[in-house]
């Protein structure tokens, strides 16, 4: 069998460059005196901007015709364990890498006035976080992936914990422990697969492509448990109901940039990882669990939306709307048809953009009034007309108005779900209706009406800096809303290949819940002797 490791036509290790460029910036910042805050701010901004500019090369040089990995770098890393430094992206990950590099300069820019103490550490943490996120999207070696996956928790812990709100200590450690808890189970599963690979081929390797090629006949009873291990790690990250409880806390307490990164990138890592690892590794188990995941997703969609309706804190409202939207992404993904998966990827990007923008908007209001309670605001559109326009774009994008990006994502997702199961689509659509409800209601309560609170008369409209980082979001809302073709085109080949692969693997297998299979899976627990040495 010929293994498709992919190639690098560019002749330049661009993925390493994009991944470690922020780290270089962080190290440089380490040596800058802490009282030069202006320099630190602008340095971080331009560093992130260069990062984004360089990453655009990926967009232009990406070969849309192939599903194989591109911009690949493969170097042996830990020979003894067979660990490789293997980076590469395909149609599934490229948009998320670009989303990350796009969000970074915005996050730097939106922190200029929000962060008023210990700026140096803050920007170092922000840049360090980018390393983990981009690395996790690019890593194709399971060991390497796990390293990046864990590395990004540490800066995020500090961003929430140092610069967060009143309950920051609780939120930070809760975030850290929850995600760490999930990932250690993934680690066990990775080790187990590592041994399976060795048993099969006699070679030690964590290489994703090799695992995919040779570990294609894992018995269902092992797949069952391995899938659950991966599921726990990623479901906590997504977060899927009922693993979502860390999210509102983390979102509410984190500084604006932290919330934006959480919503736009960190949650996407969960859904991305589902597409990348468990689904192709364990297609049978994925299909077996699909109904359960669909039910959890539907609960997340409706429960998240209902919770959002009830919130008094704007940030919490947006946080619960994330739970709802990510539920839709998960649901569409586990329908295993190209439309659903493409929809879920484009919805990941859309959610990143629109929810990121909403968090920025809440941040803009918070910087002016230092409160996020909805009842503290009314009639704001009169004093901040420019802001009201931007808010409207973000809000409409979030609820999926045709012509903006949210519509494209939700429509494709729902179409994919409908193809597989109309009943799921019915429930999922309820979520989008509720979504329109809470968002419009939020907009109405804060932007329209009379200005009841004296202070609100004197709120200044958006500043140049704020326009600069909000306008690109609006451009993307409209671009994806009106002409999404380039975005679908770039992922098409990879998604089709993934779906073909999964269907090929599962076509011969009956994936309904039959009791003998269940027993086989559970016998693994009781009959431990058989597997011991």
């Amino acid at each position: 069998m010929e293994l498709q490791f992919g190639s690098n036509t560019l002749g330049f290790p661009i993925l390493s460059f994009v991944t470690f460029f922020p780290l270089v910036g962080a190290v440089i910042l380490l040596f800058v005196p802490r009282d030069k805050t202006n320099f630190i701010k602008w340095f971080s901004f331009f560093w992130a901007l260069i990062l984004f500019a360089v990453s655009l090369v990926l967009w232009f040089k990406f070969d849309r015709g192939t599903w194989q990995f591109q911009f690949v770098e493969r170097v042996p890393w830990i020979d003894k364990l067979g660990v490789e430094y293997y980076m590469g992206i395909d149609g599934i990950s490229i948009l998320l890498v670009l989303l990350t590099t796009f969000v970074m300069p915005v996050c730097v820019l939106c922190s200029y006035e929000y962060i008023t103490e210990r700026e140096k550490e803050y920007y170092i943490a922000l840049l360090a976080l980018a390393v983990g996120m981009i690395g996790a999207f690019c890593a194709l070696d399971m060991f390497l992936f796990y390293v990046f996956w864990e590395v990004m928790l540490v800066p995020m812990y500090f961003i929430i914990g140092i610069w967060g709100g009143p309950r920051k200590l609780y939120a930070a450690i809760k975030f850290f422990l929850y995600t760490f808890f999930g990932s250690v189970f993934m680690l066990i599963c990775i080790i187990a697969m590592y041994f399976m690979y060795h048993a099969k081929t006699g070679e030690w390797s964590f290489n994703y492509v090799k695992w995919l090629a040779y570990l294609n006949d894992i018995p269902m009873k092992y797949q069952f448990w391995l899938f659950l291990g991966f599921f726990l790690a990623f479901a906590i990250k997504v977060p899927l109901w009922p693993f979502h409880t860390w999210l509102p806390d983390a979102h509410v307490e984190a500084p604006t940039a932290g919330s934006v990164i959480l919503a736009a990138i960190l949650l996407k890592l969960g859904t991305y990882a589902f597409l990348r690892f468990p689904i192709p590794f364990f297609p049978e188990a994925s299909k077996f669990f699909a109904p359960f995941i669909a039910i959890l997703s539907i609960i997340a969609i409706i429960y998240g939306a209902l919770c959002a309706l009830a919130q008094e804190d704007m940030k919490k409202l947006v946080a619960y709307s994330s739970v709802s939207h990510m539920g839709l992404v998960m649901l569409a993904m586990f329908m295993f048809n190209p439309t659903g998966i493409m929809g879920s990827i484009i919805q990941m990007v859309n959610h990143g953009l629109s929810t990121g923008a909403l968090f920025l908007i809440v941040g803009i209001l918070y910087e002016r009034r230092h409160t996020r309670l909805i009842r503290e605001y009314s009639g704001i559109s009169k004093v901040m007309p420019g802001f009201a326009v931007i808010f409207m774009f973000a809000m409409l994008s979030s609820i999926g108005l045709p012509g903006l990006n949210g519509f494209i994502g939700e429509f494709t997702c729902l179409a994919g779900v409908f193809k597989a199961n109309w009943l799921y689509a019915l429930f999922a659509a309820t979520g989008t209706i509720l979504g329109a409800g809470y968002m419009l209601w939020l907009y109405q309560r804060t932007m329209f009406g009379v200005i009841a609170i004296e202070e609100n008369w004197y709120l200044p409209d958006m500043k140049l800096r704020e326009w600069v980082y909000m306008i690109p979001f609006v451009i993307f809302f409209i671009w994806i809303g009106v002409y999404p073709k380039p975005f679908f085109k770039i992922m098409e080949a990879s998604v089709n290949h993934l779906v073909e692969y999964v269907n090929m693997r599962t076509s011969s297998v009956n994936v309904s819940m039959d009791s003998s299979k269940m027993n086989a899976a559970l016998s693994f627990l009781t009959d431990g002797k058989e597997v011991k040495r």
Binding site: I78, Y146, V147, L153, K168, F180, I188, I191, V531, K532
Partner: protein, 486 residues
Amino acid sequence: MSNFLAGIQFPDITAIIPEVIALIIGCLILLIDPFIPKQKKRLNGYIALFGFVVLFFVTLSYLGKSIVTFFDMFSVDNFSTSMKLFFFVANFVVVLISLRYLEMEDSNLGEYYALLMFATVGMMVMVSSKDLIMFYIGLETMAIPLYVLAGFIRMNERSAESALKYLLMGVFVSGIFLYGIALTYGATGSTKLVDIVRFTYINGVNPILFVAIILIACGLGLEIAMVPFHFWAPDVYEGAPTSVTAFISVVPKVAAIAALLRVYFEGFTFFAPYWQTVLWLLSALTMIIGNVTAVVQDNVKRMLAYSSVAHAGYMLMGILSFNELGVSSLVYYFFAYSFMNIGAFALVIYLRRKNIVGDRLEDFRGLAQKDPIAALVMVVFLLSLAGVPPTVGFVGKFLIFSAALKAGFYWLLVIAVVTSVISLYYYFKIARSMYLEEPVADEPLLQPLSVKIAIFLLAILTVVFGVYPTPIMNLADLSAKVFFGY
């Protein structure tokens, strides 16, 4: 093997050259100590540092050699050699963090370094012995200096209390160990591991040996600080001088685990399923009790004491896996554990200043603003202890978990990962104090240079071997071949 049948032979003296050198250096320090004026007592420390460097390179030349001598009681093989190398690396750092600390405690006496040397000799004997009596001699040679070291700050009540506690527990437990040896001797007629394994191979299992196996585990369990012999650890760790705590929590523990490994692997090979079950239980309890109790501690030294109990549990997983990967992962874990644990204790010493021991959580408060680099280094150690990449602790845990998984201990593995999540919580209580809380105005930090060098050295090792673990892994593989290389 050959000289077993050949009757009495003159033993191969070359096998014990490192031990002899260590003894000579220890005696040398004692001899010249009276002639060194009080202000220059550091010279003793420098001699010890130099001694460990010399010993390291002398022992390095033994790598790859295999000598069994002294009537099959003493063996030089890659396992014992790499354990000795480990002792010298760890002790080098311990001396480095002791130099200034002892001056601060006003007990800078040459005996300290001499005792450290003698304890090291005991441990070297322990890891090299192939006879239960030799194990016992090594254990006691190691333990007696440790009792003295624990009470080294004579005028401090807590230090004296901890020494006494340690002594009483130690004496009690060494009696149990002897009883285990006696039962083994009664059942098999020999204390040599080769004879024991030969006897059980011919005569099958003997119920008395089941008891002996447990008693031997108990005897070594004190130094390992595994449940249920961990009660002394927090009190002793808290009371003893911090540099001694750093030493006790790492080096003797590792020596005892290495000894246990050898006794079980080479002496009680045919009892493997039995002692695997025993260790399964002990390891699970050790991990759970160590990690859960650490959560409620406010004193950093006590917290690290319970954390070191928990780490003993992880290390026992390496033994009970009973495979090649288990041994090599264990050796790797020893190194990893020494870097990060001595590093964490070194930070406590770093905070030692007038009237402040530096072991309360409040002492760490706001360290990130007072001394950002030290705080960052501490975070590295804490991440490593919790097993977060890219640190040496992660690779260590990864290897240990792999070994347990390979041996099929799934539920133990689940306990291990869940408890390591719990451990993250209490480790990050320290990070929280350093980063998320405001500093309190108190005595300025002394920032002693030798401690600074030690913590940077350890932090660099922690990260470098976390990213590029191959050198230590090669050494670990060599030592695993001793037991499984045939």
